[in-house]
């Protein structure tokens, strides 16, 4: 569904992504792992149109989407969440969700002046949907709270909730689990699986929690230093020498403690 072809992304002299190629198949939940700074988020940003790649191409369903701006990708069904929550802090949680769907007639100025009836109807439907999503994420009681004032974990939930407001084809989740308590993370995991199975969303998940990855993801891709290091099932990945060296680690040389 998504084909990433030899993407390079350089910041000044620094090669954040350095020739990554990978393929994401329709209907899968792909895990993306790798050490801090491996370039995972940067790769996401390139695919999602936030960064223009230095070179390389991104294809979606056979169509070249390299360099398309994020809003255009959104309308093609490509959504993403942020590693550091990007909530709209002065808006309520409900508004955060209600603003998501594209092509709202109320977003055209003309309608705000002359099509108020239609907007009112649409808004009612949106509102119901937003409340439903909030309930699903167990944060229904926060609907009228400013999003800037909820906890970090709740912001993460809100991020996920936004992807549920529309019919996405593919969703990129950047560390949804970070800072989310484990029980909640399980709920999120369930939600992801349900969305995947019932609505046919394709997911790409960056996560450092191997249990979570193991529960959700079939193909797992490991990146390091801007390149794809290995690809396969989690077990294959876990057994991969290079991955162990670069990511999973072998432990310390200096095992002895200081004071002791």
């Amino acid at each position: 569904m998504i084909v990433v072809d030899d993407i390079h992304k350089h910041f000044g002299g620094f090669h954040a992504v350095d020739g990554a190629s990978l393929e994401i198949r329709q209907g899968t939940i792909t895990g993306l792992i790798g050490p801090n700074g491996a370039g995972k988020t940067t790769l996401f940003n390139v695919i999602a149109g936030v960064h223009e790649p230095t070179s390389g191409r991104v294809m979606m369903d056979g169509e070249d989407i390299t360099g398309l701006p994020p809003h255009a990708l959104f309308h093609k069904g490509l959504l993403r969440t942020f590693q550091i929550a990007h909530e709209f802090s002065s808006m309520t949680c409900r508004e955060n969700l209600m603003m998501v769907p594209g092509k709202q007639s109320g977003e055209t100025l003309w309608n705000t002046w002359f099509g108020r009836k239609r907007i009112a109807d649409e808004e009612r439907a949106l509102r119901a949907k937003a409340d439903e999503v909030l309930e699903f994420l167990t944060v229904g009681h926060l609907a009228d709270h400013k999003a800037g004032q909820i906890s970090g974990g709740q912001k993460k939930l809100l991020e996920l909730g936004r992807t549920m407001m529309v019919d996405a084809k593919i969703v990129f989740l950047d560390e949804v689990g970070a800072g989310v308590n484990r029980t909640l993370l399980n709920t999120i995991g369930d939600a992801i699986i349900r969305l995947n199975q019932e609505r046919g969303y394709t997911f790409v998940v960056i996560e450092h929690d191997m249990d979570f990855i193991g529960r959700l993801c079939d193909p797992v891709i490991c990146m390091a230093e801007g390149k794809v290091l290995a690809q396969g099932t989690l077990d294959e990945i876990k057994a991969n020498e290079q991955v162990i060296e670069a990511y999973l680690g072998t432990g310390l040389k200096n095992k002895d403690k200081v004071g002791a």
């Binding site: 936030v50 802090s89 209600m98 002046w113 808004e123």
Partner: protein
Amino acid sequence: MNSAVKNTLLFAVVGLMILYTGFAQSWNTALLILNMGLISAIMALGVNLQWGFAGLFNVGIMGFVALGGLAAVLTGMPPTPGAWSAGGWNILAAFVFALLTVVAVVMVRGRMRAGWARSVVIILMMIAGFFIYRALFDPGVEAVEAINPALTGFLGGLGIERGIWVALAWPVGGLFAAAAAWVIGKTALGLRSDYLAIATLGIAEIIIAVLKNEDWLARGVKNVVGLPRPAPFEIDLQNDPGFVESAAGYGMDPVTASTLYVKLAYAGLFTVVLVILLVMAQRALHSPWGRMMRAIRDNEVAAEAMGKDVTARHLQIFVLGSAVCGIAGAMMTTLDGQLTPGTYQPLRFTFLVWVMVIVGGSGNNFGAVLGGFLIWFLWVQVEPMGLWLMELITSGMADGSPLKAHLIESAAHMRLFTMGVVLLLVLRFSPRGLIPER
């Protein structure tokens, strides 16, 4: 105190101040302040759209206001006899040709492969285009400007000068400003980093330079006077026996009655415009569109990822806000009855409007409107107050003492000083303005 009560009170205070002017000075002064206050409020509303809702910092308000003024000339003035045939078509042809050249260059740029050959062709085309353009343009301009330069020497306008139709200039002024804003926004908002402020600052200067130097357009610095106006002329009223009679009915002499009548007519028209714009702005704000704008303001990256075209929305609101300023500019020029390009100064038309918005309350339409009235009132009334203050201070001094003379003479400079103090005080103690955004 509840905020609605507070806001009503604030408006009431400004209203009272204007009323007080009416009683203490004259109703003509009060109404004039009201009229200019209405125009200022509209300008502030436009700037508030840009700054308050989208964080766009427009320092070229002056330019858009001036374009509105140009619209008033181009719609209102009668066409200069013979100007079009003398050179007008030449000028038009020059513009069409310039446009064609640009299109051709763009096409060549698209068709040819990048390389020095393309660069050479493009440069050659541009040079040739420039000379042909000048060859068409210059004689046309010369011919137009030669027609009775002391009085006309320009193309003139559409000659819409009957009654309320004159007000057509206002939306046209909005269109002019919008078109300019589109070009500026396309360029500046399209730059990889945002440089809107310096771009608007510069373009405003350029617009004024064009207005000052292109005499064929609107007489340049020679000014266009005697613009038609939507309200009747006082003199006509004074000579109209019917009017004089009814004025006498109210116990007023015809002069006062006519001046008040005309100002009231303007006030009515301006109020209608302000209310329409205010309602439109409020409706837009409290709608999914407004929600989207707030989202963009909060977090551009996330809004972009949620499918909102941030640049397009910024462009949209920049164009709209500028158009509102253009409308106000056209209204002001019709009120003045003349276009004087030399009067457009950034201090008065850009920075003062900014003070209005900030003091009134950015992000709140009513705040901007309040700021417009209040600051205009101060701008006009600070001078007599300053003089009074200086007289008070110097009352103990000997007559003819140089210090006293100096202080009294400096009273006029108190105006800017006071505006600065007001701005700083508000930013300090009520940083979000008198009527803050909710």
